[in-house]
């Protein structure tokens, strides 16, 4: 705290001394979660699902939240999305307090949520149509995102004709096409088999690099949390709270072969021991 005050003072001094730089650069985080907590009321009383939690996500950052099942990690995401209300604290997106769900926060769910009565293209452009984007622009965007997720030629297919991995790719495209400020992902690959999952992680990284979106991604898969992230937040067992933040400094762009490097192995070891403690607590 003392150090912080001193450094601020120094900053002010530099500004004052150097007349060319008049405005100090204030970096507001893309997403700011302040003291957000959640209590569920049950017959036997109140259960704390999420203790007061605070963290920030920078613009363009890929953050994963890793936690044992039932730790309230999905609750955080649903509160940010505005689909659930918190009992305390607030969520700021670009400095604005969020209030209910909105198209500025796109979401991809673990369950398959494509509209089964719409074909792939109409699914991708669903949000654009609600916004009143014209046909030509919708077509162009649909084409771009179909190519990005590697599903050209599938625009006329209905969800029932797609595999699980393909459905989730379309769900990602649909969320991105709507141009949200942040993309929220709730274990989107949780229902997929291990091989498909690896491919999906690469597809997602490619889409992220193309769109430069800020992503908040929930998972219980340690490999996945490292492979995707700039920072991993580890959560405790219920009542959930953030236990540790681990920055991942692996080079980008990343390929699946990275998962067998020593560096990756070190991250994995650290995260596994952190998460193991919590998983043991949660099954007690």
């Amino acid at each position: 705290m003392v150090f912080k005050m001193v450094s601020q003072k120094l900053d002010t001094n530099t500004v004052l001394n150097n007349k060319e730089i008049v405005i100090p650069k204030i970096i507001t985080p893309k997403l700011e979660i302040k003291d957000v907590g959640k209590i569920f009321k049950t017959k036997s009383g109140e259960t704390v699902a999420l203790e007061k939690t605070s963290f920030t996500v920078k613009d363009g950052e890929f953050v994963t939240i890793l936690g044992p099942s039932g730790c309230g990690k999905s609750t955080i995401l649903r509160i940010v999305a505005g689909l659930e209300e918190s009992n305390s604290g607030k969520v700021l997106l670009d400095g604005q307090e969020i209030n209910g769900p909105g198209p500025d926060r796109g979401m991809v769910f673990q369950s398959y949520t494509l509209f089964p009565w719409l074909n792939v293209k109409d699914n991708i452009t669903f949000g654009l149509k609600l916004k009143g984007v014209n046909q030509k622009e919708r077509d162009d965007l649909a084409r771009h995102y179909l190519q990005l997720i590697g599903l050209e030629g599938f625009e006329k297919h209905y969800p029932i004709q797609l595999s699980g991995g393909m459905k989730q790719r379309v769900a990602i495209a649909r969320a991105l096409a709507n141009d949200p400020k942040i993309l929220l992902m709730d274990e989107p690959f949780g229902a997929l088999d291990a091989q498909t999952r690896t491919i999906m992680q690469e597809v997602l990284l490619k889409a992220w690099e193309d769109s430069k979106k800020t992503i908040l991604f929930i998972t219980h898969d340690v490999d996945e949390s490292i492979f995707l992230a700039d920072s991993v937040y580890v959560m405790t067992a219920r009542p959930g709270r953030l236990k540790k933040k681990i920055p991942i400094t692996l080079d980008r762009p990343r390929e699946y072969s990275m998962k067998s490097t020593v560096e990756f192995g070190n991250y994995k070891e650290e995260l596994l021991s952190l998460i193991r403690e919590e998983s043991l607590k949660s099954i007690k």
Partner: protein, 264 residues
């Protein structure tokens, strides 16, 4: 042979259709045996040939068509009114808890009251005309239909609604762009089933104070001891029900190709 009696095992389509045919022939066989042999008095059970002859006569003379027409219009109008009110109400009850809270208890109560028991009241209230017949059909189908539509709407996946909000949908759009298309196949199926029930209420509606219609024809035939005419009437109602069922099924197939893997 062995697999025919293994639980849930698939059998060839040919055998599946053949056994259906055999059952029909078996019923016809038993009927023939009982009637032609004279085991049962023809006053109670006429022979298939007598029934066929009566049917031909009714169709050739054309008397039957006006009965079919009037009965169909009663069933159709009564059912249409039930559907026009029941579908929107059911959708609202299935998606808004306040609507469910308000209407579910009373509808759940009334639906156990037999529609036929209301006939005396209906005659008192609206007389013996066409509207009374339609009202019976309405009462017989409306409550069940509404509750079934409510259930269909309730089964719309919550995640589908949540994802729509994150794509920018407002409450009104959730109804028109998500809940309605998602529950439409279930609604068409509900209509198919309840329309079948509407036919079963027809005879009840036409027992009292009717001077036309298939139900009236059956009642008249009973009075004049014409079992062959009764059977013809029953068979016609059955066939009409079957035809409407097939029509609903083809509407379903044509409208919801997205529910099938082959997409056709």
């Amino acid at each position: 042979m062995g697999k025919w009696f293994t639980p849930k095992k698939e059998i060839s389509k040919g055998i599946y259709t053949s056994v259906g045919f055999i059952t029909f022939i078996l019923v016809l066989g038993i009927w023939s045996l009982l009637s032609y042999s004279g085991l049962v008095n023809p006053l109670f059970l006429p022979t298939p040939t007598t029934v066929l002859a009566t049917a031909t006569e009714l169709f050739v003379s054309g008397d039957i068509f006006s009965d079919i027409g009037i009965s169909f219009s009663r069933v159709f109008t009564g059912f249409l009114i039930a559907a026009l009110i029941g579908i929107p109400l059911g959708i609202l009850m299935g998606s808004l808890r306040i609507m469910e809270g308000a209407f579910e208890p009373i509808i759940g109560f009334i639906r156990y009251m037999p529609a036929s028991a209301f006939i005396p009241l209906l005659i008192l209230w609206i007389g013996l005309g066409e509207s009374e017949k339609m009202a019976v059909i309405f009462l017989g189908t409306f409550f069940q239909l509404t509750l079934m539509v409510m259930d269909v709407t309730k089964n719309v996946q919550n995640d589908l609604i949540d994802v729509s909000y994150t794509l920018g949908a407002k409450n009104a759009q959730i109804f028109t762009k998500v809940i309605l298309p998602a529950s439409l196949p279930g609604i068409v199926d509900t209509l198919r089933i309840t329309f079948g029930w509407a036919w079963t209420y027809l005879v009840v509606a036409e027992i009292v104070g009717a001077s036309s219609g298939l139900g009236h024809m059956i009642m008249q035939a009973s009075r004049f001891l014409q079992p062959d005419k009764i059977i013809v009437g029953i068979l016609i109602i059955g066939l009409l029900g079957l035809i409407t069922d097939i029509i609903f099924k083809s509407i379903y197939r044509a409208s919801f190709s997205w529910m099938r893997k082959d997409g056709f």
